[in-house]
Every structure is written in C-alpha cells, then in structure tokens.
C-alpha cells in the first residue's frame, strides 16, 4: 500500500429527512501516513451540514468512499462505509469498518489489480442500503474514524426525545416522583 490515499466523502440524504444545508458531498485532500508509529492517515476534513425535518424517517447517513493510488499509481477504491449521523446531541466518535467489493473470479482479480480498475459500486449509496447486497461479496479493509458534533434543535417540540438519559437526574425509568411518604 502506498502512503497516500485520498478520501471521498458523500453525505447521503436518504429517505425523507429533507433540506440539507451545507456541503453534502465533497472530496477531501490527499493524505499520507503519519511518520510516527501509528502510521495513521489523518484527514481532519470538516463537513458542516444542517438537516431539517419534521420526521426522523430517513435519518441521514454519511457514506464514505476512500480512494487511494495502488502500486501502479491508479486510483482505486480502498473502502466503502456508511454510518448514521448520531441521534443525540453531543460529541460522538464513530469508527466505521470499511469494505470493498471483491472481484468475481481470480482472473478478474488479477486483471483488475493489474489494470487498476478494481470493482466498484455503481452507486456509493448502496452501502447505505440493504437492497441488492446479496449479490455482492466484499472484503473488509480498515477503519475510518469520524467525529460528529451533533446539535439538535426543537426535537422535543416535535415529540422526539434524543437527549441523553440523565438529563433529569433520573437513574431509572420507574423512579417515582413525589409519591407519598
């Protein structure tokens, strides 16, 4: 594996959460492995999106596709992954396992390696859906860590309580409040 590998991120707005504002799709810079022992690839790529909906149906997911040059210098896909944007406000860390589709045969694997045209999803969105996956075979390949800073507004007004459980200092659900002593 070469040291550089750029990442494409694609924020998918699936279903019916509407009205996204901000960068919905973008390509990050190309990064190289760090010099320390961790050999991590750091993008530090900020995305700022606002969603607006009255119904949580089709909660947004972030779809990541990582590309990187192979030995011949061709950009090949290094991984696909998707994760839902966390529901509750706050800072969330999500580590997404990435995977790539496999070639259908050994020969194809060889040629695709040789030609630098490895199998790719027709549409990166499929990694955020379950439909049609049964025909594919994938291999897992690394992880990508995402940090989410989620702020919600008026969720409670819409009848959705996504806040952390201890906002009211109630440790259990059945704790009564003000029962006679």
């Amino acid at each position: 594996m070469t040291t550089a590998s750029p990442s494409v991120f694609l924020l998918m707005v699936n279903g019916q959460v509407e009205s996204a504002q901000g960068l919905e799709e973008g390509i990050s810079q190309i990064t190289s492995k760090s010099q320390d022992v961790r050999q991590a690839l750091v993008w530090n790529f900020p995305i700022d999106v606002t969603f607006k909906s009255t119904n949580p149906y089709g909660w947004p997911q972030i779809v990541l596709s990582v590309y990187g040059p192979d030995v011949f210098g061709n950009d090949v896909v290094r991984g696909y992954g998707a994760v839902h944007v966390p529901f509750s406000p706050g800072r969330h860390k999500r580590t997404i396992p990435m995977f790539v589709p496999e070639s259908t045969s050994k020969l194809q694997k060889f040629t695709s390696w040789f030609m630098g045209r490895r199998p790719e999803y027709t549409d990166p969105k499929v990694v955020a859906q379950g439909e049609g996956r049964e025909v594919t075979r994938v291999r897992s390949q690394g992880f990508v860590t995402l940090l989410f800073n989620v702020v919600t507004k008026d969720m409670r007004k819409l009848g959705y309580d996504t806040g952390p459980a201890d906002t009211q200092g109630v440790s259990g659900p059945s704790l009564p409040q003000g029962f006679p002593q």
Binding site: S103, R117, E120, L175, F179
Partner: protein, 1627 residues
C-alpha cells in the same frame, strides 16, 4: 533443623557485641534500604513495619531456613527451640538501638498484655487473622493507590501482625525462663545440651496443635496466601523477630568470615514422615464425611415418621439435581456440624428449593480482576436516590401523589380452642358453635320456605287442572303440570332433608348441653357461664294434628300418583317387550319347523346351520303399588324428620347467664389451669406486604378466652397492598412470645370505607402441640371425655380474629384510595397474575354458558335473594349484553395498546401525510417538511389526491368524453398496475452488474486495441469527439438539468402571400399543379412569384421552443430557408423534484418547437407622423411545429437531425415557395416528400444516465419473466441475438418480445393478415395505393403512447392488434404491427422494420414492396417515404420481420438509402429460420379477425360540441387581461370547411378555402389554421392549441374563431380537427 546453624548465629551475635558502634547504624540503614521496594507503605505504619520488615528480611537472608512446609507437624514441633537464641541478642543490643526498639517494644508490650488473655481465648478460633478473602488480598497489594482503604487494610494488617507476633512473643516468653541464658561462650557440652535438650513444653504443644488443626480447616488457597505474606505470619512462624533484626548483621559479618559458615553447616537428609503417621494425624484433625447414605431416623427428630408431602397431595416442586454421593456427604456433614437437624425437612431430606437461584442478586456483582480494580477505585458520583421498594406495584410517579390510607380495626380475638381449655370449655365452644349454626339456620328458615313453595306449587297444579280455564292448549297445560309435579317432587325431597337437618341440629345441641351439664356435675365446678334454655312453645294440638295428617295425606296421594304413572309406564314397556317376545317365539317356532323340514331334506346340513339360540326372557309384568306400603313409608319418614303433632316446638336459647365457680371452690388442677390462663397474654402483629408495620398492645387472655384489643391501625401506604396479615403471638409469663398463627386478611375493595366496613371474623388455627399438666386439655394432644379414655378427640388451637379493614376517608371526605387505574393493575397483578385471559377483563365469564346451564339444571330459584348476583350474572351473560367470545383472539392485547382509535389515527392529517409519503404516492413523493401539527396542514394538500382517487373509480366524463375511452383508460390503468406489480417482483432480483461495476476480463483484441492506443498521437489532427461525462440522476436538484436546443436551420418555410383583394380569384392552375407527391411542381411557380411585392421579405421566421411552460425563442431570420444556429437553454424540472431514474423515465412532457413568422404591421393612424416615429406592431403567425417528447431526448441522450415540420394543411396567407427548391436541385430526391424541414440538435446538460434502456432491460427481463415458448426456440433466439449483437452491436435485433401479460413471445407471432375496417376499403375500391394510404392514416389516428411512459421504467410491452385497438393507445410497435397486418391483408408484401429513426430512436416501421420499389411507412404519422428519400426519418435498419421469419441486416451499411431490401439474399440478410432450423409454423397470437364497431356519430358530435366549448373557455382563460370576442360567422364558415379537409385528408383545399373565406370575410385580416390530431384525451388538444399561440394576439379589436370537427372512424378512432383563427378588421 541444623543445630550448627544456630550456633553460627550465636557466634555472630558475639561479634556484634564487640562491634557495637558499627552495629548501631546498620539496622536503620538497612531498614531504610529494605524499605525501598515497599515504599508504598505510608509512614503511619512505620513502627510496626519496622518489625515486619525485619522479619521479611530475615526470610530473605536466610533462605536456608525457608523450609518446605509440607510437613506441618514437624515444623510446628521445632518452633520452640528456634525461637530461643534471640534473647541474648536483645539484651546485648546497643543503647541507641535499644532506645528506638524499646519504644517499639513498649508498644508491643502493651499490645501483648492486652492480647495475652485474648490469645488464650482466641486459640480455638484464631480464624479472623487468616480468613481474609482473596479480594482483600488483592487490595492489599495495591494499597499505595487508595488511601481510604489502605488505612483500613493496614490497620488490619497491623492487627494481624500484632496478633501473630504477640502470639510468638508470648510463646517465646513462656519458654524464656526455662533455658538458662549463657553469659559468655557456651562450652561444647553446654552447646550440645542446649541443642539436644528437649525443651518442648506441654502448653506449647497444645497451642501448635490447635494451630495446625485450624490450619487444616482453612482451604489450600489460604495456605498459599500465607506463604505470600511473610511479614504477617512467616516471621512469626519461623523466626523470632529479634533474631531477624540481627540477621542481616550476621550475614554481613559472615561475609567477612571468609565462608567459615561452611564449616558449621551440616548436611542432613530431608525430613520425612511416614504416610502412616500422616494419615493418623489427618484422621485426628480432619473430618471426612462419609459417603454412606444417612439413615432417615438420624435426620429426623426422635419418634417422628418421615412425612412425604408429595404423597399427601401437596405440591413440592422438583428438587434440583444433586448427585446422590454429594447429597450424602452433605447430610453427614450437617449431622456432625449441626445437631439441630434444622436442615432436614419433614421427609428426612435436606431442604431444597426447587430453584436454588435467587431471583435477585444478593451481593453486588464481583468486578472482574485488574480492569475493574481501577474502576472500583474511581469515585463515582451518584445522585441520592430515594429508596424504593423493589415491588412493581407501587404508586407510580405518573399518578397524582396521594395520601393513601388503609384502616385496620382489630377489635378482638376469640379462641375456639386453646390449650388451656378445660373439658367444659371444649363442650362450651362446641355448643356455642352449634348454637351459631342453629341461629343461622333459623334465620334462613329454609324448611319454612320450602314448605311454602311446595304449597304454592300444589296450588298451581290444582289451578292448572282446573277445567274452567280452557284458554291454554291442553298440551301446554299438561306440560306445565308435569313440570310442576317434578318440581314438587324435588322440593319435597329438599324440604324433608332440611327439616331433618333442623331436627338433628336441635338434637345435637340438646345432647351437647346435656353432656356439659353432666360434666359440670361430675367435676363439681363450672368454668363457663354458658347456659342453654329450651323454650317450649305450645301448639294447638288439634290443628297441628290435622295439618300433619293432611300433609301426610297429600304426600301419599302424590306418591301414589307418581307410582301409578310409573306403573303405567312400566306396563307399557312390559307390553311392548311381551309383544316382542311373542313375535320372537313365533319366529322361533317357525324356524324350528323349517329346520325340521330342512333336516328331513338335507340331513347333513344341520351341522352347518347352527341357530342362534338367544332366548328372550319372558318379561315379568310390573306390580301395582300398594297404598298401604306408601303410607307406611311416608309416615315413617315424617316421624323421623318432622315434629310430631302436638309436640311443643323447642326453641333453644343460649345465654351467658351462668355463674362460674370461684377459684377457692375448685380443685387444684383447675386452679392451676386458671392461673395459667391468667399468665397468658396475647398481641397481634400487623404485617403489610410481609413487613411488620405495627403491633397491638399485649393483652391478657381472659378467662373466657377472649382478648379485646379494640385498636385501629391507620396504615399510610406507598406500595400497593399485596398481602395483609396478622400474626397472633402468645406470651406465657415472662418467657418470649411464641407465634401462634398467622391470619391473612383480604385487601378490601375500593368501595369499602372506614365506618361502613362490617366487622369480620377470620378464623385461624395453629398446629402447635401443647401438653399441660393441669386441667387444660392442651392442644394437638388427644384427650377424651369418657372415663375409659375411649372416643378420643384431638383439638388444635384455633380461634377467630374479629377485625375490619377499610380504606380511610380523608378530612374533606375524599377516600384515600389509590386511583382506579393503578388499583386495577395492582389487583390484576396481585390476584389474577396467573390468569392471562382474566387480565383482559373477561375473567369469570369464560364459562358463562356452562354456568347458565348448571343454573338451569339445578333449578335455582331466581327469586332467592341469595342467588340474586348469580342470576344477574347469568342473565347478563346469556342475554348477550356482555359478550362472551367463543374464539381465540390473536394479539389479545392489541386493544389495550391502541392508544388512539383507528378513526382518530386516520383523522390525523399529519399521520396520513406521512403514510402517503412513505407509500410513495405520486402526489406526495418527496414531499418536504411535513408540518408538525395537524392544524398546520391544509386540507387542500389532499384535494388533488382525493380527486384522483375519486376519479379512478368514477369514470370522468369530462376528460374522456365518450365512455368507451373511459373504460379503455381504466383498463389501461389496471394493466399498468398489474405489470408494475410483476415488475416490482422481478426488480427484487439483483444481478451483480446492477450493483458493482467491474471491468471485464480483456481479450486479445481489447488488449491489442489498448496497446494500439498507447501509440496514439497525443493531439491528433482530427480529434474525435469524446463523450461527455455522464451524471447519475441521484443527487440532482431543480435547476441542475438544462435542456439544450440548438436550432440550426430550416428549409422550405411557407412564405407569405400578398394580401389579395376580395375580388381577385386565385389562379386555378395553382391548384391543378399542386397535386401530391407524384406531380412535378415546376410549372406553377412563376404565378406566385409575380404576387410578391418586390421590397417585401417573403417570410421572417423565428423559432420558439416551449418546454414545461418555459418559452425561449430565437432571433428572427429572413427568408424561407433561414439559418439561425442558435442555442436555447431551457431548465428542466422533474416532477416533485424526484430525479430518480424511474421518475425521469416517466416524464411525459413534450418539447414544442414552434416556427412563427414575425409580421410587422404598420399601426400608424396618421400618415403625417410617419417621419417622427416608428409605429409598428409585431404580430406572429404560427407556421408549424415539431414535437419531441422528453423521454425520447432522455433515452437518446441527444437528438440530431432534420425533422419535418408539422405544418397545418391550410395556412391562410402562406404558401409554399416551391421554386426555390427546384432551383437548388433537390427535386429528384425530394419528389415524394414535400414540406418544411428544420435541423435541430437537442441534448440534456449534463448528460444523464438514461437508466437502463429498454433494450438492455429486455435481456434481463427475458430471464425473469416466464415464457410459453418452446425452450429450443428460446435458446435459438438467444443464440441468434448473440451472434447478431456480436457482429453488429449497434443494429437492433429482436426475436422475442414481451406481451402485455409479461410473457415472452416470439415476435413473428404478431404478424398475420388482419382485415382493415370495411369502411376504409370501400372508399377507394379500385385504388390500392389510396386504400393503403387511408389505412395508414387510420392507424396513425390511433393515439400514440410510449410504453416507457405508461410503464415507467419497465420494458417494452407488445400488445396484439385487438388489444391495441381496444386500448386505443400504443407506441410504434403496436402501430407498426397493425399497419403491417393490414398491408398483409391487402395483399402487399410487408415487413416490420426494426431500426433507428429520428426523433423516436429505436423504433418500428413498415416496409412494403410496391411495383418496382420499396416504400417505408411511418406507422405513427401515416406518412410514407420512398427508399431513397433523404428526409426519411428512418436512419438505419436492424432487421426485418415477416410473418414467418426474421432477417437480420448483415450488410455493410444500415441506412435505407444504401441497402438492398431483397431478403432472399443470404449474404445480405441473415435469416432466423433457415434450412438448419426450419420454421416450425408458429401459431399467431393475433385474433382470427378484427371486429369493428361502427362508431357512434351522435357521440362524436356531442364530443365535438363539448370540445369546442372547452377550447373556447381555455382561450378565454389564457387571455385574462383582454376581451375575447368570438366571430360566430367565421366560426360557422370554418365548421363547414373542416369536413372537407377530413375528406381530402388535408390536401389541396387551401385555395378554394381561402377564396371562400375571402368572399365572406373580406374586411378582416385573417390568420388561422386547422390542426389535425388523433383523439386520445382533451389535454393534448389543449396543449396543441396553446402552443400555436393564437391567443397571444393583443390587438385591441381582435376577434377569434374556433371550430372543432371530429370525424369518427370505426372502433372509436377519432380524427379531430381544430380550426383556430384570429381576425382583425381592416380599416
């Protein structure tokens, strides 16, 4: 142990003495140094630690001494001598050292003196020191980190250390006095003596032993633990600390001695102890429980038989599986350890719970090892939480915090038996009980009631028999009487029984009373104040006797009647049976006779026919009953059960009036008893939910065994009451209370309040056995009233508690009851937990029917107040008010979980909107931002949708003006839905290619090509066009997509004619020459040329493109062959902003390209102003249009070509300038097609991925949809297609298609001669060509509807011709197939041509062979072209399809201009069926013949009128700011003119028409044109009219004319003509 080693030590000590100075420092230093590794220990522990560390040191420095501890005994035995040597050293230590150590020692001394005594006590159980849990040990190792715990644990350690140390010191001190302290060097003898002398003192030994034994008791883990903590124990165990203190010094010193040590060390064999010894030792110390089964008697208390609860029918539960041996071991162990046997149950087995696992954890979960330790040490903040009972049935927070109170009133206690009862008391209690019973019976007085009932029934029978009441049918009367009689019988029996019971009860009471009296007499004292008085009530003897006699008589007569009835019945039976018997006898006889005969005839047969000798017994006649017998019976019974006549009625009265003999007159035993009673006192504990909440005061037991409490307990409750119990405790004298019994009280109903609750008595009993040494009879002990001890009685302590439990009422009168909902839950869970169904609310009703049946059978008296609730329940249940389900309910709790009713849910607009959106209903698909509240959703959101829903069912007459079309539309809708459903199912199957893009394995040619590419020039001189980047439609939004229309040029635009005067007749010649295609136009042009005024331009055309109501137009060019070369950009908006492929495919919008002529009119009214300004008005006149559906553009990606402009047949004021064409020499090419043309280039920016094209999809579909074709044929077709595609991948090749049912059908089955309508054939009977044209026109009049639109995203479907005609809609294939079939039936040679055309793309045309040349027919427009027509829209030919074969074009070119259509040449056409695969004679899917209905002229006329009205309204709508005037005169003229146009098919009427118009409307400047369209719906017509822009004229005095003509063709094919015109009056 080696004595020599000890010696070494002593020697070293000697040296130390000599070298005191050096010594002084060392211990400190050393201790410091040694402390390093254990620095964690806090300074608080220093003084003790010093010591402990030293001991540790000693251990390290003298590894020789570290003995294997396997041999415990030997070690302990030798400890004594080892602890000796240090003593001298202590005395010899330096002062400084001593001072420091002295302090320490002082401390130790203090501790020692304290511990000394403790030690001795502790000896047997020295456990605490060692019994440290492993987890504690864990902690210890890390104390540095946790101060709080550390302190604690060090404290412990100190304790334990001091313990051990103290012990050893102690032991050491004990020994101290014995050995003599050597003042100097001991002599050899002394030394020898010292070491060989047996010092073992007795007490030491015992101590060690206990220690050892204790050691055995601890488990091996702990032993290991011990080894790990030398500071705590090791030092104490093995060496004295004094010695250790100096140990290091000694070592240091020894080093200097140059290994003299070796001389002192002797080698000894390892200690060994014989196994026998060890075993013996172990036997002494260890207890090994036997594995033998313990005999039951050992496990049970003496003289108790094992009791097996299970055998007694009690549920015991399944004991957990434990192996027999383990159980035995445990039993043995328990027997030795715990002689109380409380571990054993009644059955002699160890007590065991069925499930040994507790339902809740009883200790906090043990955190796992290292990880958790840190977590343990971390402090966590926890908010203070109120303690809540774990029970779930408490009042939850949701309920209003109430103050719930339960009042328990305990008034008293009464013993029905008590151990202190004397015999008299026993009898008294019995008497009281009987009396109570009597009273209860008396109150109910059942006997009386039954007697009355009997009387009433008798009367009823009498009345029923009365012949004076004939109004009832005799049958029913008889029936009721029979009923009554049977009831009388029943009642009588019951009454007799009741009376008998009453009597026996009375007798028993009297008997008991007599017994009591005799007892009192016998014992000569009275214990109870009980007194029975029998009151006699005198009765009138005579009347009584009479009544008695009458009763008996009645009974006798009744019985007699019964008996006679019975007798009659029996007689009947007898008779019938007798009859049978006789008949049988007869038969028997006959048989016998026969047999005799038979025997005579065939004597040998006899054996073979054994007769069944079943003799019927002759029935015995029943005996009539005797009256006397009955009478006797009745009387006997009466005497038994009834009071004799004249006998006084006895009424017992029990009173407490009797006097009790005072103590001094009683015998001693009785006095003792009474005193015992006095000693006893009782109290009650109130238990709420198994917790004691309060207790009554202790009250002495009264002499009458009553205890009065009279206390009320107010329980303020938090938890829902689950159980309420009272415990009766008895105290005798000063001893502790004993639990007598437990009384469970029921939790009151919510309706029971304080003050209204009745006193209730709860009985209790105890099973305690009490034997008393006085007069008291005891309890659970047999006793007897008889002197001989026979007739024994065993009475148990029992009694009654009178109490009342009720809900309290608050100060303001509000009952303090938990809310009902809560309480329901509580009740359910508490009472009905076991019954799932009952919790739904149907409990008790489950067997209602059975209950009702039982009630009917048992003839419950419905009037009895006792039965009232039951009767009511039954009546409710049977009347159906409360509905008893006789079915099983799935989701039985669904109702309970429905938080709102379905109606309410449906009423919610938001919910509905969400639902519709997720169902992807077209109106709501991609609907954004559904409002949060219902009130924010406008009702009109749903209007469209609801309208559509309504319309789907109700056939709209407005849109589909004739009903047939409406039905067709409905049918189409249904077909569409079914196909879509099929498609959706098929869509579920994904192929890998659908999901993943993967490069195919390159073959040699591709590799070669790519190699070739490498050699390619970087910048070729003739660059090739590279494809644009395609964009998938996924992330597009409005405004992203643009439609680019490049208008290049146009040819042959009609030119203006000069305004001719009304009187000038156009030359007739022009009409003559303007014949159709065949005629040469060359002759007529000069005429027209002359008409043009010189200075005026012929025409100033411009192009206007309208798409989705956006309009763009080019600049104005000049002349009939203008060249614009302009690019127009139109935005594209997908429906509902949904840019998915499926959605884009179903876009029905059409791009209208209209060509207008810009006309400048001088509006100047005054000639004088001409110089100062230009006053002209621009008018635009519509010339023609080109329509291109968006779907075509979408699938084609680009449209590039020259299109024929659709120019109306009559264009007033314009004419074709034909000579221009002539001059350019196109004549020969264009002779067959005339008209105007426009060159366009249309594309979408950015280029969209057109989903899957129909073709691609088809191949996938083929695999998915089923087929009825032969498998071989399908394979062949697949092979054929593959071959063709390999050779010419761009040429269309079709072999199989999908029919409307979604099945694959071979294509040739569609082609078959079909008859065109007779009507058409009869028009030109002789002219075949004209007929063909007419037929083509007919076909083209069938509306066009592309499949991709009707079946969005789905493959091409082919319908058969009859389906096509029924549907009246289809795309090119259907039109082509129908046309081809007509041609075949007309006798022409016709083929279906599959190829590409513009603008349709892949399409189907029809090819016919005329005399000498081929004609290509466009089935959708009805036009035809010669093979060599350059303007033929068909651009390439893929294959030809005939009725019996398919030919694929394998010529080099595919343009119709350049190919040879001779299919017989195999080099040019590859045929599907050939010699190798002959045509199997496939049957056609087409019908035998098409049946045409004559179209309804009246309906057409009606439609025509309506259409005209609609269009007029629309035009007025489009001109909202202007007045729209209709010129009726002109309209009627136009209306007359339209049929002519239809007749002539739009040709050559122009001049005539113009002349006529001019004649009639000479004063008007007239511009207008007829539009011709097939009719499908109203909307396209409106669109077409709109696109002409006629309404855009805003000249103030403009007038309009509009006429509609509909010509009906067979099968409801309608040809619509719309004439729109605007008129401007000339001044």
């Amino acid at each position: 142990m080696n004595p020599r080693e000890e010696k070494v030590k002593i020697i070293t000590e000697e040296f130390i003495e000599n070298d005191e100075d050096a010594d002084m420092e060392r211990p400190k230093k050393n201790s410091k140094v040694r402390r390093q590794p254990r620095k964690k220990q806090p300074p608080t522990t220093v003084p003790e630690e010093m010591v402990s560390e030293k001991s540790h040191l000693g251990n390290q420095q003298e590894p020789v001494q570290e003995e294997p501890k396997t041999c415990l005994l030997s070690m302990t035995a030798r400890r004594g001598p080892r602890s000796l040597p240090p003593i001298p050293s202590t005395s010899r230590t330096g002062f400084a050292e001593f001072s420091m150590r002295g302090r320490m020692r002082e401390k130790l001394q203090a501790a020692r003196s304290k511990a000394e005594s403790a030690l001795l006590q502790e000896m047997p159980t020295p456990r605490p020191r060692r019994l440290r849990s492993p987890s504690k040990k864990e902690l210890e190792t890390e104390f540095g980190t946790e101060p709080g715990k550390e302190v604690e644990s060090t404290q412990q350690e100190i304790d334990s250390q001091s313990h051990s140390r103290v012990k050893f010191r102690d032991s050491a001190r004990k020994i101290k006095p014995k050995p003599q302290v050597p003042p100097g060097f001991p002599s050899a003898e002394e030394a020898y003596n010292f070491f060989t002398f047996n010092f073992d003192p007795e007490p030491e030994d015992s101590e060690k032993k206990t220690k050892a034994s204790h050691r055995e008791g601890t488990n091996p883990e702990e032993e290991e633990g011990e080894e790990e903590e030398p500071p705590a124990q090791g030092g104490g165990k093995e060496t004295d600390e004094e010695e250790l203190l100096n140990g290091d010094d000694a070592e240091d010193f020894l080093l200097g001695l140059d290994h003299v040590v070796d001389d002192f060390v002797a080698v000894r064999p390892a200690d060994y102890e014989s196994i026998h010894d060890r075993l013996q030792m172990e036997r002494e110390m260890l207890f090994i429980p036997s594995r033998q089964t313990v005999p039951t008697y050992k496990k049970l208390p003496e003289n108790v038989q094992p009791r097996f609860l299970e055998d007694e029918g009690l549920y015991t539960g399944v004991r957990p599986e434990v192996s027999r041996t383990n159980q035995n071991i445990m039993e043995n162990r328990l027997l030795v350890q715990d002689p109380e046997r409380r571990w054993f149950g009644d059955d002699g087995r160890i007590l065991a719970l069925p499930n040994p696992i507790k339902p809740f954890p009883s200790r906090p979960p043990v955190e796992t090892q290292e990880l958790s330790i840190k977590a343990e040490l971390e402090t966590m903040y926890k908010k203070a939480v109120k303690y809540v009972h774990s029970s779930q049935h408490m009042i939850r927070s949701g309920d209003p915090p109430g103050n719930f109170q339960l009042d328990i009133d305990i008034s008293g206690l009464l013993f029905t038996h008590h151990p202190c009862f004397s015999r008299e008391h026993v009898l008294a209690a019995k008497l009281a009980q009987l009396y109570d019973q009597y009273l209860a019976r008396h109150q109910r007085n059942k006997a009386k009631f039954l007697t009355d009932k009997l009387q009433a029934l008798r009367n009823a029978v009498q009345a029923g028999l009365d012949p004076e009441k004939p109004h009832q049918s005799p049958d029913t009367v008889q029936k009721t009487i029979n009923d009554y009689k049977s009831e009388i019988r029943q009642t009588r029996k019951l009454r007799d029984a009741e009376q008998e019971k009453d009597r026996t009860l009375l007798k028993t009471i009297i008997k008991v009373w007599k017994e009591m009296k005799s007892l009192r007499e016998f014992q000569r004292f009275t214990n109870t104040p009980l007194k029975l008085v029998l009151r006699k009530e005198k009765v009138d003897q005579k009347a009584d006797e009479e009544a008695y006699e009458a009763e008996i008589q009645v009974e006798i007569s009744e019985l007699l009647e019964e008996h006679t009835e019975e007798y009659a019945q029996k007689m009947e039976e007898y008779r019938t049976s007798l009859q049978q018997w006789k008949a049988w006898r007869k038969a028997q006889r006959a048989k016998k006779k026969k047999r005799k005969q038979a025997v005579e005839e065939h004597p040998y047969d006899e054996t073979e026919e054994p007769y069944p000798e079943e003799d019927l017994v002759k029935p015995i006649p029943p005996e009539p009953t005797d009256r006397a017998v009955i009478e006797q019976e009745v009387r006997e019974r009466a005497t038994q059960s009834r009071r004799r006549p004249g006998e006084p009625m006895l009424i017992p009265e029990l009173s407490l009036a009797g006097s009790i003999t005072p103590n001094n007159q009683c015998p001693r035993a009785e006095v003792l008893r009474r005193e015992d009673v006095k000693k006893r006192s009782l109290y009650l504990k109130v238990l709420f939910n198994n917790k004691e909440v309060s207790r009554t005061v202790t009250r002495p037991l009264g002499a009458d065994f009553r205890v009065h409490f009279g206390q009320i307990f107010n329980l303020q409750i938090v938890n829902w009451p689950e159980s309420l119990a009272l415990q009766v405790y008895e105290t005798i004298g000063h001893s502790g209370p004993t639990l007598l019994a437990e009384v469970f009280l029921p939790i009151p109903e919510t309706t029971v309040f304080t003050g209204r609750a009745p006193m209730e008595e709860m009985e209790f009993s105890s099973n305690q056995h009490v034997t008393l040494d006085h007069e008291g009879v005891g309890s659970g002990v047999p006793f007897s009233f008889e002197a001989d001890g026979s007739n024994q009685l065993i009475l148990m302590t029992s009694g009654k508690v009178s109490h009342s439990v009720a809900w309290a009422i608050g100060e303001n009168g509000i009952p303090l009851i938990p809310p009902l909902s809560q309480q329901n839950i509580g009740f359910r869970s508490a009472l009905k937990r076991a019954d799932a169904i009952s919790s739904i609310g149907t409990s008790g009703l489950t067997d209602m029917k059975k209950l009702a049946k039982w009630a009917a059978e048992s003839k419950l008296d419905p009037n009895d107040p006792n039965n009232a609730p039951l009767m009511q329940l039954i009546s409710v249940a049977t009347s159906g008010e409360s509905y008893v389900p006789d079915f099983f309910r799935l989701e039985q709790l669904q109702q309970e979980f429905n938080f709102v009713s379905d109606q309410e849910l449906n009423r919610s607009k938001r919910f509905r909107l969400l639902l519709l959106r997720s169902q992807e209903v077209p109106e709501f698909r991609n609907y954004k931002q559904i409002p949060v509240y219902d009130r924010e959703i406008m009702e009109k959101v749903f209007q469209d949708y609801e309208k559509r829903l309504r319309d789907r069912n109700v056939i709209e007459t407005k849109e589909h003006i004739d009903t047939h079309r409406a039905i067709v539309a409905k049918y189409l809708q249904q077909v569409r839905e079914s196909v879509i459903n099929r498609f959706l199912i098929a869509k579920q199957y994904f192929l890998l290619a659908d999901m993943i893009v993967e490069e195919e394995v390159p073959n040699i040619s591709i590799l070669g090509l790519s190699l070739f590419k490498l050699a390619e020039q970087k910048r070729p001189l003739r660059p090739r066009r590279k494809g644009r980047k395609k964009v998938t439609a996924q992330n597009l939004s409005d405004g992203d997509i643009k439609l680019l229309v490049n208008i290049v040029r146009a040819y042959d635009i009609p030119v203006r004619k000069p305004a001719v005067s009304k009187f000038q007749q156009p030359a007739r010649s022009s009409r003559m020459f303007s014949e159709k295609h065949a005629a040469s136009p060359s002759t007529h042009s000069p005429n027209h040329n002359a008409d043009y005024p010189l200075g005026q331009v012929l025409v100033r055309p411009f192009v206007e493109v309208s798409f989705q109501r956006t309009v763009c137009h080019t600049t104005t060019a000049e002349g009939p062959n203008p060249s614009w070369n302009e690019e127009l950009e139109l935005p594209f908006r997908a429906p509902n902003g949904d840019y998915s492929t499926a959605s884009l495919q179903s876009v029905k919008d059409v791009v209208f390209i209209n060509i207008f002529d810009e006309v400048l009119h001088d509006v100047l009214e005054d000639d004088r102003e001409r110089g100062s300004g230009i006053h002209t008005r621009i008018e635009r006149h519509w010339l023609g249009c080109v329509k291109i559906p968006f779907s075509t553009i979408y699938f084609q990606a680009r449209i590039d070509g020259t299109f024929k402009i659709d120019i109306p047949p009559v264009l007033l004021g314009y004419s074709k300038e034909r000579n221009m064409i002539l001059e350019r020499g196109f004549d020969s090419v264009r002779n067959l097609s005339e008209g105007s043309y426009i060159t366009l280039f249309i594309t979408i920016e950015p280029q969209l991925v057109p989903g899957e094209s129909v073709q691609e999809k088809m191949s996938n579909m083929l695999k998915k949809f089923e087929s009825q074709e032969d498998e071989k044929l399908l394979q062949a077709s697949e092979k054929f297609q593959a071959e063709c595609a390999f050779k010419f991948p761009n040429r269309q090749c079709l072999t199989t298609v999908i029919d409307i049912n979604g099945k694959t059908v071979f294509i040739t089955r569609y082609l078959k001669p079909l008859n065109p309508p007779e009507e058409l054939l009869s028009v030109y009977p002789n002219n075949l060509q004209a007929t063909a044209e007419l037929v083509a026109r007919y076909v083209s009049l069938i509306p066009f509807l592309p499949d991709t639109v009707s079946f969005a995203g789905i493959c091409d479907l082919w319908s058969t011709s009859d389906q096509f005609l029924d549907l009246l809609a289809g795309d090119e294939e259907e039109h082509a197939v129908l046309l081809c079939n007509y041609f075949l039936s007309l006798g022409k040679k016709a083929w279906l041509v599959m190829g590409n055309a513009i603008p349709e793309g892949p399409t189907a045309y029809v090819l016919t062979w005329e005399q000498g040349h081929y004609l290509i027919w466009n089935p959708c427009s009805g036009h035809f072209y010669g093979q060599f027509d350059t303007f033929c829209p068909l651009k390439n030919v893929g294959c030809l399809i005939g009725p019996d074969n398919i030919w694929f074009n394998i010529q080099r070119y595919d343009s119709p201009l350049r190919i040879n259509f001779d299919v017989t040449k195999p080099k040019l056409w590859k045929s599907f069926f050939s010699r190798s695969l002959p045509y199997p004679g496939l049957s056609s899917v087409q019908p035998e013949e098409l049946i045409y209905q004559r179209s309804d002229k009246a309906a057409a006329a009606e439609l025509q009128d309506r259409l005209e009205k609609i269009l007029k309204e629309k035009i007025m709508d489009w001109r909202p700011r202007h007045l729209t005037r209709w010129n009726r005169y002109c309209t009627s003229t136009l209306r007359h003119f339209l049929p002519l146009l239809e007749k002539s098919q739009g040709d050559d009427v122009e001049d005539d028409h113009r002349a006529e118009l001019l004649k009639q409307l000479g004063d008007y400047r007239f511009s207008g044109f007829p539009l011709h369209m097939p009719y499908s719906e109203v909307k396209p017509l409106i669109d077409a009219v709109y696109s002409t822009g006629v309404h855009n004229i805003d000249v103030p005095n403009v007038e309009f004319a509009l006429a509609v003509y509909i010509h009906p063709y067979p099968k409801n094919v309608l040809s619509v003509w719309i004439y729109v015109a605007s008129l401007i009056r000339n001044r």
